[in-house]
Amino acid sequence: MSLRFQRLLLILLTLVIILSAVLLILYNTRENVSYFYTPSEINKPDIVKNETIRIGGFVENNSFNKISSSSFKFKITDEKASILVIFNGILPDLFREGQGAVIEGAFVDNDIFNATNVFAKHDENYMPASIKEDLKDTGYWNKKYK
């Protein structure tokens, strides 16, 4: 084996080793790397009150209630569990029922999550607005596009 291929092998081997080291670190810290918890990941007995965390999921259908002009109540769900959220402030434009959202805040007691920030999450689907109308007219509108 010529010297240059020994060097090439050495470089590639080093890269693989560093990459696996970094990936191992990231894999074992994935709870901290993840930006939010889903409602079913939250274990009710382990809730620490007034500790800031983020939860993410979909805004549950028919759960959105306006308490006053700037105060809202809704549920965040991942279809396995759901959490009641109250929020004082301005909601992002994309926020609506059935839409993904990430909520920053803290549990005030075991069932109520007090939000300080609400971010809307959008999915990877892009579609012209006109097609949505067509699909709705023909009844082919898929609920999961929401």
Partner: protein, 232 residues
């Protein structure tokens, strides 16, 4: 294919393709921008803000592509002792840094109206911020050594170590919960984007590639000249 590693062959190749590349980039940008602003439809959810995608996504792809090219040339430069690999590192790092910056700025402008925030520290955004910092470090390292031979080796090794970040940027949206949405276009599945929005995206991507290529040709040529005259 010798022009990919041989400076004088590259110079000849560059002189032949520079003008066509420049003209092509102007044409593609004109078509791409007309498509992005006028001929592409509003998104069913995001309305007009979806047009930011036609700048944001190509610049993100090019930021990653530029780094991938630097990685390959660093391996070639170190393993086969081909100096042209190091010339590429010096020449294209600032181009990648600018693409990353465009990606971050346009992403912030998109995030504010859609997500409700300019910036969050989720895995995707953080790893792209790290990519930008890595580019900056490479640029500063290129400016900071007395001895050129030492410098290009150190820079190439740093580029290789930094390349670990590339798969992390790419797969961050799949591996962790992030505010950023997962990839729309991947090889494994049918893209979840309408053709009327795919066309401007593809055209803009090629426009970005051509502009990047044109700037890269100029920078590589000037780097070759400055090495010949021993300026650094």
């Amino acid at each position: 294919m010798k022009f990919l590693v041989n400076p004088s062959k590259f110079n000849k190749f560059a002189d032949n393709v520079f003008l066509p590349v420049l003209i092509l980039s102007i044409i593609l940008f004109s078509i791409g921008l007309i498509f992005s602003f006028y001929l592409s439809p509003d998104d069913y959810q995001q309305g007009s803000t979806v047009r930011i995608m036609y700048v944001h996504v190509p610049s993100a792809w090019l930021a990653l592509l530029t780094y991938a090219i630097m990685t390959v040339y660093s391996i070639v430069g170190l393993a086969f002792r081909i100096p042209f690999g190091f010339i590429i590192n010096t020449a294209v790092a600032p181009i990648g840094a600018v693409f990353t910056l465009i990606c971050i700025v346009s992403g912030s402008l998109w995030g504010k109206p859609m997500w409700g925030t300019w910036w969050v520290w989720d895995a995707r955004l953080t790893s792209v911020a790290i990519l930008f910092i890595i580019y900056l470090v490479i640029i500063f390292m290129n400016l900071s050594f007395e001895n050129r031979i030492v410098r290009e080796k150190v820079v190439a090794i740093f580029v290789l170590v930094g390349s670990i970040n590339l798969p992390i940027v790419k797969f961050s949206v799949d591996w962790w919960n992030t505010l950023h949405q997962p990839a729309t276009i991947s090889k494994l599945s049918k893209p979840s984007i309408d053709p009327s929005m795919m066309i401007p995206l593809i055209v803009m991507t090629f426009a970005f590639i051509m502009v990047g290529l044109a700037i890269a040709i100029l920078r590589i040529k000037s780097e070759i000249i400055s090495r010949k005259s021993n300026l650094n």
